[in-house]
């Protein structure tokens, strides 16, 4: 019976597995596209974003995968549990860099809770207008940062996507944001040598023991001192959009 059941339910989405990091890790680059310092910039930026807003955004770069990029991004989000399990406020940015003749692909997958703030059409727009132009030139870091510049405030609820559409083409805002973020980054990294997981909000370093009972902390994490360092169990329903170049 079980055998028949297995035959009837091939799980195409699960056939592709990307190992889940043990702790919340914003950047996973399997393609060696980003330099170490670029990765640590994005890591510290998204860790900070998570600390201050509870939204988890992950950026994943893969050379190859099976199937449609949208379903791969969705299944990574779901399996890793990106975002909080109550708010489902995770975002997965999956990038397949261009390699030789093979075109590149990008998908911004939104958790259930982010679908309203970041509708598919906006994901598409952000992909095509903020990120892919830089990817096309081979500047992946810049594309990711430009994308995050727009995604972060929308996901955090600082401004709505309608405002983003209105502001599009306004050349003043982006440089100001970038300047502020670079300044923030320099300030932050001057205060600590960037060790991705080592600094809690209050600024004291703590160490996460390996194989700690992390998963059991999930869900009931209020007041747990480890709140914020694991994936939250957020779920994804196939929202989001992307593009190719």
């Amino acid at each position: 019976m079980l055998f028949i059941a297995l035959l009837l339910f091939p799980l195409p989405l699960l056939s592709f597995e990307v190992a889940k990091p043990q702790y919340f890790t914003p950047v996973t680059d399997y393609t060696s596209t980003l330099t170490h310092s670029e990765q640590s910039y994005i890591n510290s930026r998204l860790n900070h974003f998570y600390d201050s807003t509870s939204n988890q955004i992950v950026v994943i770069l893969l050379d190859r995968f099976e199937g449609d990029i949208g379903s791969v991004a969705q299944s990574i989000g779901e399996r890793w549990g990106v975002g909080d399990s109550n708010f489902n406020n995770g975002v997965v940015i999956l990038i397949k860099p261009q390699k030789g003749r093979e075109g590149g692909e990008l998908f911004i997958a939104t958790g259930y809770g982010v679908e309203g703030a970041l509708p598919d059409a906006i994901c598409k727009r952000i992909s095509e207008e903020e990120m892919i132009p830089h990817f096309r030139e081979g500047n992946y870091f810049k594309g990711i940062v430009e994308g995050l510049n727009v995604i972060e405030p929308i996901v955090a609820g600082e401004y709505s996507y309608q405002k983003y559409i209105e502001n599009q083409g306004n050349p003043l805002i982006a440089p100001i944001i970038i300047f502020a973020l670079v300044a923030l980054f320099i300030y932050r990294s001057s205060r600590k040598r960037s060790r991705p997981y080592s600094v809690a909000k209050g600024g004291f370093p703590f160490f996460i023991p390996f194989n700690s009972g992390f998963s059991s902390n999930r869900g009931s994490s209020q007041g747990s001192p480890f709140r914020g360092r694991g994936f939250g169990g957020g779920r994804f329903g196939g929202g989001g959009a992307g593009g190719r170049w």
């Binding site: 059941a5 009837l8 799980l11 989405l13 969705q74 196939g238």
Partner: protein, 198 residues
Amino acid sequence: MKSKQKTNFALIAIAVVALLFLWGKSGYNRMVKLDESLSTAWSQVENVYQRRADLIPNLVATVKGYAAHESETLQAVVDARAKATQTNIDPSNMSTSQFEQFQSGQQELTQALGKLMVVVERYPELKANENFRDLQVQLEGSENRITVERQKFNEAARAYNTEIRSFPKNILASLFGFEKRGYFEAKAGADEAPVVTF
């Protein structure tokens, strides 16, 4: 001596009954839980199909403005939508034939939409229209969501069916009237996301 045996027997009987009760209780509660999650998954499936259906009037209106000649294709979409939204299923009482009817209705709509999306390729002005492009993205997103929710429903149905059909819980299940539920079959092409490429 005899009375002692009797009390022993009575104690054992009570213990057995108590154990049976506990087993039945936990088994029953688990089935209820799986049943509930199956219903939730089903309502999500209906939601995403509804979401797609809701896009269609706007889509048809937009396409009409640019491609009035394609009234036949457009009418097919409208008809398929009307048919697909007719079938409503009560998740707690889902018969296989109802389920198949629902599936085939949605499948027809998928095909009609697919044809429409092929036809619009001939209208560059339409394809450049911002409103239409947003609709295309939303439609694509709906299809993605449909794939995901169908898959999640199938997983829930599998968990439920496995639970109620495995021995000895099947006795409990038939006692309380838990029945096997349908799922989305992976027929050729039916489980694949409808291809809507642009």
